[in-house]
Symmetry: C4
Subunit: 268 residues, 4 copies
């Protein structure tokens, strides 16, 4: 058994399981289980735990990091088989900077960093649960998610530009609101960033109620922003609706091309 | 008159009434009235009632339970006529585990359980009003509801997978938010579950205002979550819109199939 | 000049103005101006006014009531010309119970009632501003509003049945929430109606923050209701979207029927 | 080199840059950078700054105003080249009253006004950031924004008329709510404007929680308004969805026209 065949076998195991590949399937389940266990540990750590539970939590972390590190190295090593038409170095570099690989690296790196530099990276540890997105690679809703992803991608330029208008709106509303409300509520609207916090809460219609205008002018401006906030939901809804309709139309189009609209016979 | 014919008659009465079946119609009205009376009792019981009203409420309960129990037994007994091509035992078992039958059982069982075990199941008593869903079986909006149900069913995999992304988002946002806000507000963000409560209130744009970030980092994260919350409305809206358009298109399609698009003559 | 011709002239003046009918146009402007003046009076009356302003407000009211009463009588008198193929008595009765006529009557009746019975109907006085809806009869957005109205009417059965599901959901959630939260917050959730107020505020994502769950079970239930609240926006959005698309498709359909899809020639 | 050719060169530089025009591209970047720097200054001014920072902020303002003034004069001077088929005076007047030109004027005028009249126009100074909208003229999302603009313009009459219904609803709900809640909460609902503030917060589902009904009647009315608020999101969503679908259909239509639906051959 050569190194090349070992590599190929590992690659097959690591890749999302096909229906008839049992070893790969077991590997997927082990990794996802470990991620879920990590998630439970991260949540449990926020409670006041007895010493023995803290010990278990620590052991789980060491084992997880060991497994995730080996998995990461294997994925990086075999990543050249993902893109066979590129040269190995380039293929690995491309994989290294892919979305999933960056998440996988962020999940293990907070453990190793304190060895070299003395900083507390406990917050970064919680990033490990982002690996939960790996679930999408193995479950049966992948196709539906791909459709949603395609729609969002197709409409990305429209969505981004509508978000940019919203961003400008928030900026302008914040600056005006700061000038309007600052004198009446110097503690609440003490700078533009506070006004921005108000603008986001109003435009998204969250409205926590921790900050709101009290002057007449401020209330009128707030009412205008709140009404524009409806557009902030309605415009993306409209864009995404059209996106989903288009995807369906495209599928229909393909179906129609195969049949004559007149006699119903197949056309090749 | 044999048992078989009695059973058939009972089955016809119990089933949702057809236009010309008066007895079945009266039966439907009696049952729905009894459910509505039970709903009023459940609401009235939450107020401080005088003793005589409590007595009436108790009598209503006994009568309701008696009627609902007889109804449930009759439905179970005649349920083999619903699926004539299955053997009776299997047909009854299938009915026993159907959505409506489980609700009907949950509506009567809290009354009988205290006879055997000594627990207070008063909360479960309120489940009786779920039987209100039976109204849909007899009213004229059934067709419209079926269309809505069909759309939600057709799009279930897309809706479920978008809800799953939201669930992951809530998880990740909660863990990060707990780490960000815990030091500033140890009473509010005292564990990840509290942070989840905040995440749901923000993503759904409810924003009660009982819990919100006070740190700058927390506010930035909250703003991002609130903006993503718009997507949480816009994406399902888009999916469901496309679903409704499709249902209409399908109907149109059927209409189109009957006419030649070229000459306008009917095609058989 | 006979009574009949006088009646016809009055009818023409009262009806929404056509482009070339100047008298009718002036009449419309006078009535709308009077409604707007009444609106201003109703708003001004809520402030502490000086005596002379109260006097003006009273004079405006007397004049308005006089004009509105004469207008109402004339509309009722000439309403038989609206439906020429019905006999006069029936046509008038039909007009008497029309939406606009009821609003017009409600606008004047609170002034006359205190003459006969001694009750304070000042609240009903504010109903006069509902007459503002008359503006739609004379402005240029009538066509757009008709399209919206048609869509809502076409989809009314779907919208009503989805609202009915929401109503059941509010009922069931309220009863359960009352049982869950009553012990923890007896002052807030003191009966089912308070729980309903919470359910409406959560499902519609308003979230005032005056009432919210504090128990773990209550928070989980609240999270489920808040997420279902998204469906409450998404489902009607989808229904209405499809409705608007259909209206457009119908227009397209009509256009298509007139041309052969093959050669582009007109078909009669 | 004549004045005419100088003017033409300036016009080319000022106009949004084409891909191969480097000077125009640099000009765009300089102007946008200056606007962004101004934005940062406006935000920074809301914090308590040390004296030297205030000095820098002042210098930035003087330079910005100088550049923006020269830019404005040049744009106005060359604006007759924008509309070559009009006579120069008319073309300049049309440009003077265009949306972008008004924003540009509002951005510089607050600096010059205090020279003539002694008023504090510091609030107007923040209007300078509205110039950020100029970014749209030079970025790659212009096409997507144009599509959104076209949809909103096509549907403007429907959107405006639905907003008008909402405005009437707010008016009527406010007046009724004032009469219902005034006695119970004279401090909160002290006039109709306060009730309007409540109505806007409820209809848009913002729900700050600073004002809400406490009486039973007020809560019922509020529940109705909150449910109608869903329509306020659903109807514009539907209108805009249909608008986006239409734009796509139109594009498809053009594509379809080029092919015979029967034989699939190109049609010229």
């Amino acid at each position: 058994m050569t190194i090349k065949s070992v590599k190929k076998t590992i690659f097959k195991i690591i890749e999302p399981s096909k229906d008839n590949d049992k070893v790969s399937h077991i590997f997927d389940i082990v990794i996802i289980s470990l991620i879920v266990i990590n998630l439970i540990t991260v949540i449990a750590d926020t409670f006041a735990l007895p010493p023995y539970a803290k010990k278990i939590s620590k052991y789980i972390e060491i084992i997880s990091i060991a497994v995730f590190t080996v998995e990461y190295i294997l994925r990086l090593w075999t990543s050249d088989l993902l893109r066979p038409n590129l040269n190995p170095a380039k293929a690995r570099l491309k994989y290294f900077f892919s979305f999933m690989a960056i998440i996988d690296l962020l999940a293990i790196i907070p453990f190793y960093l304190p060895m070299f530099i003395s900083i507390d990276l406990r917050v970064l540890r919680s990033l490990r649960i982002i690996r939960l997105f790996r679930i999408f690679k193995i479950n049966r809703y992948t196709k539906a998610l791909n459709t949603i992803g395609t729609v969002l991608k197709n409409k990305s330029s429209q969505l981004i530009s509508s978000m940019f208008v919203v961003f400008l709106l928030i900026l302008i509303a914040s600056v005006i609101m700061y000038n309007v409300e600052n004198k009446a509520q110097p503690d609440q609207f003490n700078n533009v960033f506070q006004a921005m916090w108000w603008a986001v809460a109003t435009l998204t219609t969250v409205g926590y109620g921790d900050i709101y205008p009290v002057t007449v002018l401020g209330k009128i401006l707030s009412a205008i922003i709140a009404v524009l906030g409806i557009g902030m939901v309605a415009v993306p809804s409209g864009i995404i609706s059209a996106g989903f309709s288009e995807v369906i139309d495209n599928n229909d189009e393909e179906g129609k091309k195969k049949y004559c609209p007149y006699c119903g016979h197949k056309i090749d």
